[in-house]
Amino acid sequence: MSTSRVLFDEPGPIARRRIRVATVVVSIAVAGLIALAVRRFADHGQLDADKWRPYTTWPMWRYLLQGVRATVEAAAVATGLSLAGGIVLALGRLSPHRRFRWPAVVYIEVMRTVPVLLLVYIVLFGLPHYGVNLPLFWKLVAPLSVSSAAVFAEIFRAGILSLDRGQREAGLAIGMTRRQTMWIVVLPQAVRRLLPSLVSQSVGLLKDTSLGFIVSYSELLYSGRILATYNRLLIQTYIVIALVYIVINASLSKFARTLEARQGVRPAGRRRLLGFVRPRPYVAGSPHLRARPEHPAPQSEGPEPQNKIPA
């Protein structure tokens, strides 16, 4: 934000007048666009109360909420699987042994450039040909996990590489094996640092569950499709569904930003030091934080990040 503030001065009288004029012009333009859209809707009778009334009734929302639940379930399972797959792949790619490294590299590079929809089609139309017919839920979740494991792997790799080399060296120096160093010293720190990216990547996964539309797994978008074929309220249904997605994803993204902002507050040196002194230094309201008013304790902003790592 700092640069954007520098791009213009504290406005003087002329600039203030210009800003006022621009504000008025933009507001009129936006209002005009909205009016145009409303006119279009009204002209085609899409604003009639009885076309929107179904979306104020509880049974409709109960149905949509079931869709939301299925969406969240699919996204959660896919996130868990691709987190696990991602860690394994990242460790493989960073491994000193060629027989682990090459398969991981090939997997990651291939999956990062093949569309998920193609994988979905393979599961839908390819696998049954070989006698593999997954249940509906897995027809959606399997391709999603397979594809986003590669993305998570790259996130993990970046995080592990971004960590100070001294951490690993220290672990090895006190006689831990390479595996112990990775799991006890490096990964916990990398994961904590990566939490924002991991959360925003799972927003991406949640968006991708809308492929249930093709798989006919009744998540939110497919539920909407079914609704729309019954009540013929196409545009209303899809607008409501888009809004539901925006609400869910915007709150997840906001959570990711909160995590990120909170990480910026932590001085890196102190974090490392505390990490050795106590296992969980950043429990909300811990005395270390309360003692320092310039780093206010994150008390009311929801659960602590390290409790949120999916297993």
Binding site: F8, D43, H44, K207, L211, L221, I235, A242, Y245, I246
Partner: protein, 214 residues
Amino acid sequence: MDVVLRHWSAFTDGMTTTLELTALSFAGALLIGIVVAAMRVSPVPVLRGVGTVYVESFQNTPLLVLLVLFVFGLPEVGVIFPLFTTAVIAIALYEAAYIAEAVRSGINTVPVGQAEAARAIGLGFGQSLRLVILPQALRAVVQPIGNILIALTMNTSLAAAVGVVDLTAAANRVNLLEAQPIPVFVGAGLGYMAVCALVGLLTNLIERKVAIVR
């Protein structure tokens, strides 16, 4: 691979459609994205607000929802475009939000002194953005925009779900005819991988050419 050769024209047609979708929607997304990024750093609060709302809503809606809304919903209010155009518009609007965020982060990497110097020699907001800040910001974000282009290429396959016959849809059709999923889908996958590799290569070339070493 015999199947792929037998239906070669279906695959090349699909590939052409995919490339057209990619190129057109990327051009649109770049244009809209830069405008939205400029709005988000402008001195006019309303413009900043509009930009933020744009980015937040398009980044948080699944592309498939947008495509379905545009393809099946808009005709209900009398907005009717050809299917291909609708797909291009939806993909461009969606990816523009990502481009806008990339460009904005590029603007943030331009040293503060540049903006101060621009103001000191009397350039206004529009001029300093256009002549000083944006050229440097865009050079800094070649790699991120290349990554968005790769994601966009893969996302164009979603247009197959609403009926555009691109590479994915072509592969699916051939498979339904021939029932030989492995060669067909591997062929289509190789097509996408080739496009993405090409984009990656181009990105590296361009970046080496224009990057500013600070």
